[in-house]
């Protein structure tokens, strides 16, 4: 064997022995529950490169995965968007139904509170005529002139009655006139009539200034409509000097809105 050949073998042997010694150091450190110095140093030195390589590998993995799964992901996203839109729509629907339930509960409570009350369903509405159709008629004891109320107050007055249904005019109809009382320090009585779909008018002759926002209720001077049913609140006041009376505009408390159930006071 040549000199260089012998040196090569000696170098190999020396490195094998060194490797064995390092292995022993590693094993001793592990038995002690620790990391040997060489391993911890090597990891610290490798960390900048390995951290970067890991991020790149993750990014590339995600890129290639998206290439393969892209069309499927787009379909899934479209499907989820459609489901989300449907859920949002159903949230609105749930809110509507909850509001309906509240109105129904209010109508039932109202019926319980009144002496002779008949819960009815509003089955028709004719906007131009301010008229509603109810699913109760003469066989249920409904008579013209009776009050139709909801939780908020007086809604309409029965105008015509069939055997199984009846028609009522909303109190905002110009054809309706009601005996009313302004609940103020000194109550004032007069007649309320419809003005437009949103307001009522009441004229009175007493020379009394009433409070703005005062409550207006039925006066009871009617064959069928009891006293105390809420009509609305005063919106504005004016004095008509020319004719010597005062006039108030009233905002009705009850609006047809989404009400589907009302109570007829018999």
């Amino acid at each position: 064997m040549s000199e260089t050949g012998r040196r090569d073998w000696i170098a190999w042997l020396a490195l094998i022995i060194l490797a064995w010694l390092l292995g022993q150091a590693q094993n001793n450190a592990r038995r002690a529950g620790d990391t040997d110095r060489i391993s911890s140093t090597a990891r610290s030195i490798a960390q900048p490169i390995s951290g970067t390589a890991t991020s790149v590998a993750d990014g590339m993995g995600g890129f290639f995965a998206s290439l393969g799964r892209g069309p499927a992901l787009i379909k899934e996203i479209d499907k989820l968007r459609a489901e989300k839109a449907a859920l949002e729509g159903s949230d609105d629907r749930i809110a509507e139904l909850e509001a309906d339930i509240q109105r129904l509960e209010g109508a039932l409570e109202l019926a319980d509170s009144l002496e002779d009350a008949l819960p009815v369903r509003i089955i028709g509405h004719f906007t131009d005529e301010a008229r509603i159709t109810l699913n109760a008629g003469s066989k249920d004891g409904v008579k013209p002139g009776q009050a139709v109320t909801v939780e908020e107050g007086l809604l309409a007055v029965v105008q015509s009655v069939d055997e199984e249904s009846s028609q009522a005019l909303l109190i905002t109809s110009p054809l309706v006139g009601l005996g009313a009382r302004i609940m103020d320090e000194e109550p004032v009585e007069g007649v309320v009539r419809g003005s437009d779909p949103d307001t009522l008018i009441m004229d009175y002759t007493e020379n009394l200034e009433v409070s703005s926002d005062a409550r207006v209720v039925t006066s009871g001077f009617s064959e069928h409509i009891p006293a105390g049913l809420e009509i609305g609140r005063i919106l504005s006041r004016r004095k008509v000097d020319e004719y010597g009376f005062r006039q108030v505009r009233i905002l009705p408390s009850a609006r047809l809105g989404r009400h589907r159930v009302a109570v007829i006071v018999r």
């Binding site: 040196r7 073998w9 490195l15 390589a53 590998a57």
Partner: protein, 156 residues
Amino acid sequence: MTWLRWLTVIALYWVAMGLDAALLSRLWAAPSFLMVLAGSLACLSRPAAGSVAGFFAGMLYGAVAGANLAIYAIVRTTIGFGTSWAAELPVERGPREMAIIVGAATVVERLALLVLLSPPDAMDFFRRAAFMVLLNALLTFPVYALLRRLFPSEEQ
């Protein structure tokens, strides 16, 4: 400037160590950058230097991977020695031949580790080893070309 060459080799070992630490645990099959570097260096040098190159490849991998440092260092020291010896055979020293030698060295290394480490799933180890052999051989082309410029042979 000899110091610049050795600084480059150290930098290459640093990069290879980092890549091995990141990729060998994340990918099912990945090349062993330390093996490629050590094998390419061994192809350009005497067996003593090849042993040193293999020793560092084994020690650094054992250290970063938390593997058995002694086994990896001993196996790769021996592989480095053998690779240098094989490269001294009267064959053309082109990149293709060196790639074959490094690929063969990887095969021997994997077989040695199979015997010494006894991995739980030998078939999976074989499959991954096959990919590693192929990838190592392919990577040897550019690495060997770079190292050959750094350490030109006497003929050049």
